[in-house]
């Protein structure tokens, strides 16, 4: 379980998040929604040690992550799929996956199994495994980015707007895949999405972040019923 309590964080003097508390459970998708600039990415950055934490705590399965450098947090089983620049563009698809797997401390057999699991989930990546990653289409690239996050079988997967800027068919497909990942893999998924409708379809729990503060916490159906919030901030309802 990921437990964040009264988190205040930002970048240097720029205070972005105010008293953010959030809980995300294993085998669930927890979605964080909110307008541009609300601080969604900053929330993920804070969890991953990429932002400055002023106060509050972040705990993963009762272990404190605050103050750990990113590479240590990564070794604790956290994967962060960035919104942009989330692949190694000059390596092939499979080199991308193998490279990351090697640094997770997995043994040879685990790497092969994990690789097979990923190719089962994204068959297109298997077809393109010898292709240089920088030449993939937007959707394929995003699948690779998520796979890079999955290869080490994380306990916590942080996804920052995985469907942003993709063609509609890819959006639907990726959303389906995220749901499939939740069912077949034992991990906590924290999903930041701008595609509110799609996110509400697969999320178990939703947080709405506005100007650095959590203004709603509940299930997707509860959110849809809160017409004021849904309309004003998310353009739903």
């Amino acid at each position: 379980m990921l437990v964040i309590e009264k988190l205040n964080s930002g970048y240097g003097k720029l205070h972005v998040l105010y008293d953010v508390s959030l809980t995300a459970k294993r085998k669930e998708i927890t979605a964080v929604l909110g307008p541009n600039g609300a601080g969604k990415t900053t929330l993920l950055n804070s969890i991953f040690g990429l932002a400055d934490i002023y106060s509050g705590s972040i705990e993963l399965d009762d272990e404190r992550l605050n103050k750990m450098p990113p590479h240590m947090i990564s070794r604790r089983g956290v994967s962060y799929v960035f919104q942009l620049m989330n692949i190694f563009p000059n390596l092939t698809v499979e080199e991308n996956l193998r490279l990351v797997a090697r640094f997770s401390g997995m043994n040879h057999k685990d790497i092969e199994n994990s690789l097979k699991e990923i190719y089962d989930l994204f068959p297109i990546l298997k077809e393109r495994r010898r292709q240089v990653a920088g030449t993939l289409s937007g959707g394929e690239r995003q699948m690779l980015a998520i796979s890079i996050g999955l290869i080490k079988r994380p306990r916590l997967l942080l996804l920052d707007e995985p469907t942003a800027g993709l063609a509609v068919r890819y959006v639907d497909m990726l959303i389906e895949k995220i749901l499939e990942m939740k069912k077949t893999m034992d991990m906590i998924i924290l999903l930041v999405e701008q595609n509110v409708h799609k996110a509400l379809k697969i999320a178990d729990k939703v947080y709405v972040l506005v100007s650095g503060r959590i203004i709603f916490e509940g299930t997707p159906s509860e959110l849809v019923n809160k017409e004021d919030i849904a309309k004003m901030y998310l353009g739903v309802g």
């Binding site: 590479h71 990564s74 960035f82 989330n86 090697r102 640094f103």
Partner: protein
């Protein structure tokens, strides 16, 4: 003519070793490293000191690698890493390397003074060619510099492509944030690249006094050709450096010597301009270097 060619190949090999480090550092830390000048000079004084103490100056290649590697590590940990953590701009980092270079220039001069008073020799003019050996008509420095370049290039290739540390280094060059996000200690990998780059410059420096008259400011004179070779080859590919090193090295030696026969001996005086002219032409016509033509990208 053949003698000029052999001399040109020697110079090109040494230049390649220096440019290799410039490119490596540019790929990992993204900073044009002006302190490469002093990394080379520390190599020069390492083999010179060994020669003064009665050892074979070629031992300086090994010791010079370590000495200059450490000089580079100090720069990284004392100046660059704190600045990088504060997210300073590349320009600030570049100025830091220049500052460090000036500081090291001072230290080298103090050391030269020390040698001068201790051994009663003109330690500012370092020339070891008379002590060089010859083998099948070739100068020792030619044999050693070309074969060391080949061996070190192969070792670098193996390190980068066949080891896990090399894979981490490549990941850092490709996408440092993603590398860090996947458990790679980026700072440690950067430190390694500084040690390697400093070491390569140290090797080249250690061999230089066997090739030409050197002094504490030799590094500063060579910094232009180093950068030029590195940019000419292409900053996006490490192996562009030896390519640029040889094109520039041969242009400065063989081409100029041929031109002096055709146009007149006075042209030799202007051989120092070759790197600058090459640099300008490269930046205008092939800004991504010769490798970009070869790789057709």
């Amino acid at each position: 003519m053949i003698e000029t060619l052999i001399s040109g190949i020697t110079y090109s090999s040494l230049l390649s070793l220096m440019a290799l480090g410039i490119t490596l550092l540019y790929r990992t830390t993204k900073v044009p490293n002006f302190a490469h000048a002093s990394f080379v000079v520390f190599g020069i004084y390492t083999s010179y000191t060994l020669a003064l103490l009665g050892y074979n100056p070629y031992l300086g290649t090994l010791l010079g690698f370590i000495v200059s590697g450490i000089i580079a590590l100090i720069l990284f940990y004392a100046l660059l890493e704190p600045l990088r953590r504060r997210k300073s701009s590349i320009f600030i980092l570049m100025m830091a390397t220049l500052t460090y270079d000036i500081l090291m220039f001072g230290i080298i001069n103090i050391y030269a003074d020390y040698l001068q008073t201790t051994f009663k020799i003109p330690a500012r003019n370092v020339y070891l060619a008379p002590q060089d050996f010859t083998l099948i008509g070739l100068k020792g420095v030619t044999i050693v510099s070309t074969s060391l370049l080949i061996v070190l290039l192969m070792l670098l290739y193996i390190l980068l492509n066949r080891t896990i540390i090399g894979a981490a280094l490549r990941a850092v060059m490709e996408n440092p944030s993603l590398a860090q996000a996947n458990g790679i200690n980026v700072s440690l990998m950067l430190a390694l690249s500084w040690f390697l780059a400093g070491g390569l410059a140290g090797v080249a420096g250690a061999l230089l006094p066997m090739y030409m008259m050197t002094d504490p400011s030799t590094g500063m004179l060579l910094i232009a050709p180093m950068f030029c070779a590195s940019i000419l080859g292409g900053l996006e590919q490490i192996y562009g450096a030896p390519l640029g090193g040889f094109i520039l090295g041969l242009a400065t030696t063989v081409l100029v010597s041929w031109l002096s026969g055709v146009i007149g001996y006075w042209i030799m005086t202007y051989s120092l301009m070759v790197p600058y002219i090459t640099l300008i032409v490269t930046l205008i016509f092939i800004p991504r270097g010769v490798v970009s033509i070869i790789l057709k990208r």
